[in-house]
Amino acid sequence: MTTETLIWLIPLPPILAFFLIVLLTNKSKTLSHTVGVGAAFLSWVVSMFVFVRALGVEHLGEEPFTSSINWLPTGNTWLKIGVLIDPLGAAVLFFVSITILMIFLYSVGYHNFGQPAGDHDRKGLPPHGATVEEHGHKHVVPSVEPMYSRFFAFLALFAFGMYVLVVSDNLLTMFVGWEIMGLCSYLLIGFWYGKESARNAAIKAFMTTRIGDVFMLLGIAFLYSATGTLTFREIFREETLHALASVPSIWGFSTAGIIALLLFIGTVGKSAQFPLHVWLPDAMEGPTPVSAMIHAATMVSAGVYAVIRMFPLLSLDPKTMSVVAFIGAFTALFAATIAVAQNDIKRVLAYSTISQLGFMIAALGVGAYIAAVFHLITHAFFKALLFLGSGSVIHGMEHGVLHTGNHDVDPQDMFNMGGLKNKMPITFWTFLIGGFALSGFPIITAGFWSKDEIFADAFANGHIVVFITLATAAFLTAFYTMRQITLTFLGEPRTKEAEHAQETPWTMTTPLVILAFFAVTYGWVGIPEHFPALGGLVPNWFHEFVGGTLAEHPEVIEFSWIPLLTSLVVALGGLTLGYFVYRNVNSPAEDRLQIPVLKNKWYFDEIYDFLFVKPATWFAETFVYKWMDKGVIDGVLHIFGPITQGLGTIIRNYIDLPIINRLIGDGSADVTYWFGGKLRAVQTGRVQQYLIFALVTFVAIGAVLFAFGLLA
């Protein structure tokens, strides 16, 4: 089987799993998770196969694995769709497949497979525990999720969407995968649909990303009308790019610039950049594997991947690049400021994701292609690790909540935790590795290498403002990460629930370990050549490999001490400061960073509500529903009714009854009756009269015949 065929097959297992679970195995939890995990595993195996083969190809960038089919007839030509694995695709495929597999495996334990059904668990609400009798002693244990199979079905659909996006060779199928993931984010964020907050969060996520999607679709349409094709390799041909760059468009951008800008707005929505960032923190309403899936492995990465893909187009217009860089850097700093004031363990990670995505976008904006891809991949690993780890922590805390029976305690609030290092060791160590990777702890974490490369690129190309912004954001990142670790794991347990926390089962801790491995080692495939001491020991495989995707191989950055020192200072400084400040803070009241503006996310939700949501609701409820629908349309209909009725009554009373019923109907009957009455008189019953009649007739006929000469 050729590699191209294998690439076509990669998205197949998850979609088959989706249909199988929905149609057949819905009732059986075991079958459903077997199908789901099996499909993820199968896709991972095939992806690894393709990846290994891709590694073996020289100059994969010039001759990627590609295969396409004629799909939509458009006049004399065809719109083609197909698959493409070039170096970028191979690298992305690697991390996507493994993180998806880890999340699937994690979900088995997260949803408490094997546990009894809950006391009063209902579909649509999170499970609340089951009472079990053990040695005559009752206690409450975690219960299994009632909608277990449905979760795996949605997760499989999500995986399908991501795989389609990654392997596609054209904007159309990429957009298809994009939208499928948008749908799944709605379905999964609103998984526990019984909670109103989850329902609202799902709608918010869908609507906000949709705004971005509309602009992206405009960009795709514009691109198609300008070039007549949507296939990447055809768009990125010299001539096409040149043509797009030279045609000017509105506001001083070139055509290429406008197209790239429109496509970028799609990423702003999907990757939760400012100003469309509001949905991501609310998306924490979904189960933790969903948060990991959406905010680390797949969906937000898809946004950055889209920009990376369109980089050749994007880099043609310096104005667009500036917009991109600005938004990226601003978002990075903006989100980091909010993260330091959050108390929910998942919210911190959510804002952290927004911030790190800002890093990647900013990197692309300054032209640091390799750095952005590198950071995307390492971020996927350690962010997935952190989210799954936080899920593990919450699970442990819930165990404590069920033990004490005190349901007023929020298991996600960091100020209720503390000292979990001893209660949940595996979770602690893996979370620590992830947190250090996020902060950019030097040498031994992957985050260091990717972040450092971004700094180096930004500094070397002279984008000092971006450099300083990103550095500040990195400092805040390290700070709030250490805050998080300190509050959660270190010190003493602050509540009874934390005291009774327990480590989670192997299905949850194994993925943590595997991801931690990658969070540590992946950085070493991209060590820059000119790095002091370590550079050159291991070839910078990443730069060589991924760099081959672009037509012009990116140059190797000259080493400079300033970015390196900056990144060391911000990372280590932030971590230390965070530890020292927070090891003695035990409640929100003592936390001096609980500034209202930061805690309330700079009041953006309130602003958007006032500016957009309320007018839209008014428009829908009052204008469209009350005035137009009920007033105008129903009003017209209500005129028709009485008119028809009146008309009917007139016809009945003036035409039907007198004319048709009486005149024609009764009239003809009366006439016939009258005639009959008159004719009856003939039949007298007297024989002689009959004879006379007969003879008269006989004679008359005889006379007539005689007169006509017919008688002899």
Binding site: Q688, Q689, I692, L695, V696, V699, G702, F706, L711, A712
Partner: protein, 169 residues
């Protein structure tokens, strides 16, 4: 005028006159008796026509049985010994008119026929009409079937008449 013609005229007038009296007289018994005379005239006519058997049968059957039957019927259907009311019904003139027209019509029809003034041809010698009639009536090549059917008809009439007029008291 030959003797035959005179005899014929007398007989014809006698018969027609009797017939006229049959249909106009008020007294029903008289009418029946006038019928007898009419039938007798008809018998003589048969004799004139050399249909001797028919003449005898006419007298025996018609006068001897049928006319007697009529008299019986008249007797049996009298309310009292006097006749009541007029014997002609309301529209007798239509009947008269029709009778005249029928006669006229028949005569007019006859005028167009060529064989009207035929004269009688002599009976061949040795031809016995009665024997010949008898043979014809019973020979299979002849008229035995109508003869037998007529006898069945008479049986049916007999049974029917008895049944209809049966007095079920």
């Amino acid at each position: 005028m030959t003797g035959e013609q005179i005899i014929f005229l007398v007989v014809a007038l006698f018969t027609l006159g009797s017939g006229f009296m049959v249909v106009t007289t008020g007294n029903l018994v008289h009418a029946a008796l006038w019928l007898v005379s009419t039938l007798f005239g008809v018998a003589v006519t048969y004799a004139l026509l050399n249909a001797s058997f028919l003449a005898v049968v006419q007298v025996v059957v018609y006068i001897g049985a049928i006319a007697i039957l009529f008299i019986f019927a008249v007797m049996l259907t009298r309310k009292d010994m006097r006749d009541q009311g007029p014997q002609m019904n309301k529209n007798w003139w239509i009947g008269a008119l029709l009778a005249v027209m029928t006669f006229g019509g028949l005569v007019a029809l006859l005028q167009g026929w060529s064989g009207l003034s035929k004269t009688v041809s002599a009976i061949p010698t040795g031809f016995d009409a009665v024997t010949e009639l008898g043979t014809e009536l019973v020979s299979p090549a002849g008229y035995v079937l109508p003869f037998e059917v007529a006898s069945v008809l008479l049986v049916a009439a007999l049974v029917g008449a008895v049944y209809v007029a049966f007095n079920r008291k």
